[in-house]
């Protein structure tokens, strides 16, 4: 009896292999990044960057001496494959034809969208990623001017283009937008997505031997791309979005005749929506920041508190200009609510918002915005060379 039981239990272990859904590592193609382009005939071209786990190459030959290849036993060589079709899944079907292994979506970290495609609307394209349960919503989304395929195909010396872009996003110097953030923004207002570009390759190397980086931002009205803003304006947008992590600001005050650079320790921005008694809507942007001086090329003697005050005023002026600039472009020109002003009103004045949300498109471009910026200079550095 006991023997039969043991045999039965052991046999039931066979059921644990998961016969239908086994995903052996050597049978799948791990997709790291996906690029979506639109062709002239309206077809969609989907490119994927695939990591193919390979056996260790023994003596470490070739150019894999950058520290990535050691240790974990396998080198991943990225390859880019492409498929075309009328929709993304349609293109993926063609794509699967040229990939000998099963496409595996669980590790996709990057989605790159071509600018022309972004101009036709994002929501329909994002739908596939939302419906596919194996797709991670943590994937970062980018827009690029050229072909997304070319971005994925760059021969980065360090690691794959997707990893480079993930790292850039996690640095948070520029915008960083995951799939779920994007959907959230599209649902509650308008979106801004980082825009990538190639770093100009060095003279002797091939034009593809470089890395992608986040250069600017694409602004979306509803779900269609309406324009771009430069890195400078993007910082302004990040200020208003309360998303400033680490940055250096350099000011030039008239009195000092020279540059003073500061590093930002803390920055906090609050949106304070106000509906005035006469029914006018107004937004107050309150920004508070603490900074340290890290460079002084001016004549100002920073041991004098009066001069610190001058620096402080110059910094406030600079930040005000930066934010105003971003507002002018995004609010007045593009009329896109990437700052979440609408949401701020929704949060504070739910009733009035409910009544007016259908006219938000008319209210927003003419919304009065007041900037209330207050900077503190805390320290002047460990020493000085003056």
């Amino acid at each position: 009896m006991t023997t039969i039981r043991i045999v039965f239990i052991l046999m039931s272990c066979l059921l644990l292999t998961g016969c239908w859904d086994r995903n052996e590592l050597n049978e799948i193609a791990l997709v790291r990044g996906i690029g979506i382009d639109i062709l002239n005939n309206g077809q969609i071209e989907v490119s994927v960057e695939i990591s193919v786990p390979k056996a260790p190459s023994g003596s470490g030959g070739g150019g894999e001496s950058d520290g990535m290849a050691q240790g974990s036993g396998g080198i991943t060589l990225p390859t880019v494959r492409t498929g075309r079709g009328v929709t993304i899944p349609d293109a993926l079907e063609k794509l699967q034809e040229v990939i000998p292994r099963k496409i595996f979506w669980g590790h996709t970290e990057v989605i790159i969208i071509n600018e022309n495609l972004a101009k036709t609307g994002l929501r329909d394209k994002m739908d596939y990623f939302m419906r596919n349960p194996r797709f991670r919503l943590h994937a970062f989304v980018f827009v690029t001017k050229g072909k997304a395929k070319d971005m994925l195909g760059l021969e980065t010396s360090l690691y794959s283009p997707s990893e480079v872009l993930t790292d850039f996003s996690e640095e948070k110097v520029m915008l960083h937008v995951t799939l779920i953030n994007l959907l959230d923004m599209l649902n509650s207002g308008d979106a801004a997505i980082p825009m990538i570009k190639k770093v100009p390759p060095q003279k002797k190397s091939k034009p593809t031997q470089t890395i992608p980086f986040i250069k600017s931002s694409a602004v979306f009205k509803n779900d269609k791309m309406v324009g771009t803003i430069s890195d400078k304006l993007t910082r302004g947008v990040k200020w208003i979005q309360n998303d400033i992590e680490e940055t250096q600001v350099t000011v030039n005050s008239k009195k000092g005749e020279g540059y003073i650079s500061m590093t930002l320790l803390r920055a906090e921005t609050k949106l304070e929506p106000v509906i005035k008694k006469d029914g006018k809507w107004k937004m107050i942007i309150k920004a508070r920041t603490d900074d340290d001086i890290i460079l002084n090329e001016s004549h100002l003697n920073l041991k004098d508190p009066q001069n610190i005050k001058i620096v402080k005023k110059a910094l406030e002026k600079k930040l005000t200009a930066r934010l105003q600039h971003a507002l002018d472009k995004v609010q007045k020109d593009y009329k896109a609510d990437v700052f979440g002003f609408g949401e701020a009103f929704h949060r504070k004045y739910p009733k009035q918002w409910k009544e007016s949300k259908d006219h938000w498109d008319e209210i927003y471009p003419n919304l009065e915005v007041e900037l209330d910026i207050h900077a503190n200079v805390l320290r002047t550095g460990a020493g000085s060379a003056h």
Binding site: L15, W20, P133, L137, D184, E343, H346, R347, K348
Partner: protein
Amino acid sequence: MEINLNRSEKISSFQLGILIYAAIAVTAILYLPASSYSSAERDFWFSPIISSLFGILTIFSVTKLGSYYPHDTLIQYSGKIIGKIAGKIWGALFLIYTLSIAIQVTWQYGEFVNAYFLPRTPRVVVLGSMAFICAYAIRQGVEVIARLAQILTPIIILAFIFVFILLLPDVDLNHIQPIFGNGLLPAIKGSFFSNLWFGEFIVLAFFLPSLKDQKNIKKWSFISLLLVTMTMVLMNIIALLALGNSTGELNAPLINAVQYIDIGNFLSHIEAVVMAFWIAGAFIKINVFYYVLTVGTSQWLNLTDYRPIVIPILFLNVLLAIWFVPNVSAYQVFMHTIDGIVGPIIYTFLPLFLLFIAFIRKGW
């Protein structure tokens, strides 16, 4: 195998409390949040608190009825309260509806496993293997199920806490505001869907006769209710805070939230681990409903033992779970209409009515 006719197995109130917790909370965090969100929007996290009123009513009537008839289950004492024929009709209604709930639970489990983890595995295999171990557990009796819950539930609760903590870095408090921007009404509307889950406390009625300390059951079932409500509210809040406005566009927001966890680029892709615990919870839930169904049916048919009908009923369940629900949309319509209306009537109001009659007959 020796069949025990006079039930000598005994469980404690504490065991029953955590058994019920797992049996209710586990599926309440899966598809329910999306339904509540559809009418309550960002106030949907509050809906379970409103619904918990149904839990209080149900627990109150079930425990009171249990104290009137300490050796009987719901099916047995309803005959004594409202007469034999009316009791049989009510029993049939209850069993048919419980069958539909058992089918829904089975279907949800199968759907979840198939949609998110094993898409190519045939539904029959997913459901059949679960029904098979459930049949074994149920034939072993209530003590086994209770001990199983005692082992698994703490792990499941830990997994919930783990998810909550790991999602904290992705939290944006703005997502929850404005709180009650349109008044309480949306949250009340959202509670329409969650009422059923709190009505499920009715299953207590089938475990009360097996208790060795009936005096404590009120305490433990209310603690269980509190924990269920807390679990639902906290899981809803964390999903909302992490996913924001997109919560309503996801079928099972919590799974996406778990997928979203990414701590320092190394602690990510943990959904498979978390969901393994969820499946352990689903196992308890399915067990509880199959147990209620088989015990209830055997008593309704006046059988001396429930064990012979365990396998047929489970077979029926698996079969119906495959046939009954053609697709997700159909299930959601069913959940939004039949379950929303019939659920509270059968699980909460009719027992309350029974209690009322019993009260008239027996006094306080």
